[in-house]
């Protein structure tokens, strides 16, 4: 059993509107799984189904190999995008309440909260009311409450929103630590740089359907199109370019006469670059020869746009 969560052809309708159309996902254990997609693609609906806030019309969800049941709630932690806390309740009291709702005993919850409050250096907030805290401070409490019951599966929906860069980094490190401790994490965001940084796997939802999923490195490989950025040193740029253009597909070339530096982009028919490298090495001194790997951002935009106009 290598998957913490599997959805099988999950379909959800709201009246006439289809929010999820036969979405099948496999979320491996001990990994960070990026759930991506444009606004309104169905990410939140899927997350709510995993949290049993909603129930699918068709299809099945398996948690750790078992059909998803109410008792699994204690093994899932969810940080929703639309989140908040009771404004007039004290921080400690509130955190205790939410922890107890997740099934922790009061004593155990207190012990763990003390630990986390010290770890994130917010010990003196215990008796403050939420309305006295800044947004970022409240987000920290919310993060602690989400992970406190040590769930097997954590779901973070835009976890970094509301954090300044320093605190965002602290939270990012905590997420990586959680993964290192064996937790599986579903991570939904629009910030592609954090997808690059954190995700092992991704799935892309668009218009209620899954249009792409798999290991991020595999997807990147699949999206490579054998384009290389090349920089060489030559005094005879024009002639060389002409010669090259006859043999290969060359584009966006740029010559710096002062430093005899010629940069260009090279499109190869396959990923095999040995021939061109051999050829180039006889002609000039090669400064760099780099294959361009598409970013998550590129993949996102390219895939979504290929599926029709993005609204």
């Amino acid at each position: 059993m290598n998957n913490i969560l599997v959805t099988k052809e999950v379909t959800k309708k709201f009246g006439e509107h289809i929010a999820l159309d036969k979405v099948s996902l496999e979320i491996p254990k001990n990994s960070i799984y990026g759930l991506l997609g444009p606004n309104g693609a169905g990410k939140t609906t899927l997350i709510r189904i995993i949290n049993q806030i909603m129930f699918p019309d068709k299809g099945e969800v398996l948690f750790n190999g078992e059909t998803l049941k109410p008792h699994h709630i204690a093994q899932i932690g969810y940080l929703p995008e639309e989140r908040g806390l009771y404004k007039s309740m004290k921080v400690g009291e509130q955190a205790l309440y939410l922890a107890q709702l997740k099934g922790l005993s009061k004593a155990e919850a207190k012990r763990r909260l003390k630990f986390w409050f010290e770890r994130l250096e917010i010990g003196d907030w215990w008796n403050k009311k939420i309305q006295e805290l800044s947004k970022g401070m409240a987000q920290k409490i919310q993060f602690i409450v989400t992970v406190l019951h040590e769930p097997k599966l954590l779901i973070f929906d835009e976890p970094f929103s509301g954090f300044d860069p320093i605190n965002a980094n602290i939270i990012k490190d905590e997420i990586l630590k959680l993964k290192a401790n064996g937790t599986s994490i579903i991570f939904s965001t629009h910030r592609m740089e954090s997808v690059e940084e954190l995700c092992d796997y991704i799935a892309l939802l668009h218009r209620s359907e899954k249009i792409l999923d798999g290991k991020l490195s595999d997807i990147k490989k699949a999206y490579k199109n054998n384009i290389f950025n090349v920089g060489i040193e030559t005094q005879n740029a024009d002639a060389l370019l002409k010669e090259l253009a006859n043999k290969f597909q060359i584009s966006s070339s740029r010559y710096n006469a002062n430093e005899n530096q010629l940069d260009f982009t090279l499109q190869l028919p396959t990923s095999d670059s040995r021939e061109v490298l051999t050829y180039l090495s006889t002609k000039a001194n090669i400064n760099h020869f780099v294959e361009t790997i598409p970013s998550a951002n590129d993949i996102f935009i390219q895939t979504v746009q290929s599926k029709g106009s993005y609204e």
Partner: protein, 446 residues
Amino acid sequence: MNKLPLIIKREYLAKVRNKSFVVMTFLSPILMVGMVVLIAYLTKINDNEKRVICILNESDFFSNEFVITKSTSYVNFSDISLEAAKDSTAKMGYYGLLYIPDESDLEKVTERSFLYTKEAPNTSVLDKIEDIFQERLQQQRLQEMGVSAKDFSAMDNRFEINIATFAGETNIKGINEIKALIGGGFGYLIMMFIIIYGGFVMRSVIEEKTSRIIEVIISSVKPFQLMLGKIIGTSLAGITQFAIWIVSASLLLLIAFSIFDIDPSALNSNSQITTGMGANMAPPLPTADQTMQLYAQELFNIPWAMLITFFLVYFILGYLIYSSIYAAIGAAVDNETDTQQFIFPIILPLMLAIYVGFFSVFGNPHGPIAVGFSLFPLTSPIVMLMRLPGGIGEGGVPIWELVTSILLLIITFIGIVWLASKIYRVGILMYGKKPTYKELFKWLKY
């Protein structure tokens, strides 16, 4: 582990720790008692006002009929002109001048008598003077007909028929109204409780929506559990508040009345119907004490245990029905200003129940309208309670009606709570514009 007690506890504590709730809890009895004391005090002052009426009597038909009472005294003028009498009355600042002219017979005297006052006269003053004239006229006519006052009073038979049920229970007149009033009191209590604490439930749902904590909570508990916990927690807070109100208000009232030396029964004196001239000639009725005893006995005979049991049944079912509707409304909207349109249809059956109760059930507790409204689930908690003090079974509410009413209420309770929890479940995750009734209907299918 069952999470419901946790939710109830939080909702209860959140409510009773709320500053405005605490202030209301302790301020309301003081305000209420203050109001009652003020009214009683003002009534007392009002009664203490002494009016002096001057009389210019030129007739022989009246001599000593005008007796000084607690609130009115008389000053007699003689041998001055009407104008002079008016002037001096005004100058001395007395209430008014009663002019009785000298005429050949009593009819004419009464026809030509006038009461002059500075402002339009008080009705109680008028009543008093008119009574004196009427009585004098009556005496005169009786004399003319040769009937002695003694014979007349022997003739005056005020009659009240004895009433009893087939089961043989005798009743005294008016007790049905009093019983309905007691039931009405219970019904009114239910209505107030629903409106006040239903509103609290609604606001608490809206608060969870606007603070965006709702999704965090319902990833841990079922929306239905949260809704139920909220309703129970809030009503426990409400019961606490009611208990504090009742205890502190009665204590304060007791203290206030002993300090200000106000007789609570004085408050009711206005409602007593004066029987006019017949009063002093009427045959001996049961004295007030005897009547009070009878009423007390009747009140004692009201099946209180039964009444309170059914009060609790109707209260719990009725309150749950209405407060789950309030919860659904809270879930459907984003802020309190949007709730008006949805609240009106809820208040309507409650108001209807109270009005139908007071206008129809009091007069005829077992008439078709009373029966209909005590079966209809949205009004039965109030209307049935107004009928119940009359007892169950023969002479009271038929058992089948009671059973049907409660069954219908239970079925409605299940149906409404189910519908409300569906709307609640969808609504708490909806932000943005206020939904229409059509959209609410669509949510039921989500």
